[in-house]
Symmetry: C2
Subunit: 201 residues, 2 copies
């Protein structure tokens, strides 16, 4: 697809066809594109845990939902997604990179970092996965993992404590489904968010 | 351009043609695409300060470089970029959004947030600017502002303290220039960063 069409078509999909798997070639392309994201100092502190079999995904859902939960149509639509990709950032890769001779922050002091580029860069990589899915005719969703579920997901998927889960990408073929209530909010336009010359008031 | 071509063509450009301005239509498209990024709860906590005149850009460079700095060819290549976009995240927009009735985190407690989605989402929006530039035949660069320069840039551009500068996008027509020394590092491939089923060791 044309780039501009992909950008305009991307939306969060919350209901998936459980009977149409994600072709392996498309999944690989998503991950090959993810590593094309920029990263501070080319640190590339990102990892992706791909869950594409029923038991693998069940491991994730068991760690994040309680057995007694009522049958939530919202959740069941998302649970039908045939692929989940747990997106992990790796702060140490950045601290190590910037302690290298050509950077020289040998103290590895986090106070040097005005913003967490490990999380930001992994977010950019995750966006490339979302866009690649749209380009291939699939639907995608990015959702966060509540703070209290990070421990259980780390344990269930053997994610090292050095990694931080910044969110999960769901992939699959979209079915018509509910729109997010958040969309009732006004979308800020390009003009709304642009400040010419200075921020001002 | 085709989406896949844009993803593969994107790279950080560090030398710009000072005599070719960025067409206004392309600049607007960059910002219109930026707001197509996803955001947690559709919070959209992002703002972009566009500097596209000589005095505007000089305001930024004066705040971030010392007069006595030697004539650095690297910096002079970047300084030739006809447009700078200072990308700002807005944490309060997220705390406010999630205190709304349909979310209900009325305590606005930052500890609820496992990762700073304000910074991550603004990073995704910034990536859309970079990619849109490539799609339009321009070059682009994303660079961070060192922690000690945030105060001066905030003051010079009248950026409210509620906003955090996550980085700056430079836009313009590319000239052949130096490659980042960071590129000597091995690029982690899609296969390198993918963990099937579980992270493991």
């Amino acid at each position: 697809m044309e780039f501009q069409s992909v950008v305009r078509a991307r939306r969060m999909v919350r209901r998936y066809d459980p009977d149409r798997p994600v072709p392996h070639e498309i999944l690989r392309r998503c991950l090959d594109n993810a590593v094309r994201a920029p990263s501070a100092g080319f640190s590339q502190g990102w990892d992706f845990v791909v869950l594409h079999t029923d038991p693998e995904r069940e491991t994730f859902w068991s760690a994040t939902t309680s057995d007694g939960a009522p049958d939530d149509p919202w959740l069941s639509g998302i649970r039908a997604a045939p692929v989940l990709i747990v997106c992990c950032s790796h702060k140490d890769a950045y601290l190590d990179r910037y302690a290298a001779p050509d950077k020289g922050w040998t103290d590895r002091d986090e106070a040097r970092w005005p913003v967490p580029y490990w999380d930001i860069d992994t977010g950019m990589a995750s966006l490339l996965i979302l866009l690649t899915a749209v380009d291939a005719g699939l639907g995608s969703l990015f959702f966060g993992v509540p703070a209290e579920q990070h421990g259980p997901v780390h344990a269930a998927l053997q994610i090292p404590v050095s990694r931080t889960i910044i969110g999960v990408v769901a992939l699959g073929y979209a079915l018509p489904g509910p729109k997010s209530p958040s969309l009732r909010r006004h979308r800020r336009t390009g003009a709304d968010v642009t400040h010419w010359g200075r921020f001002g008031t």
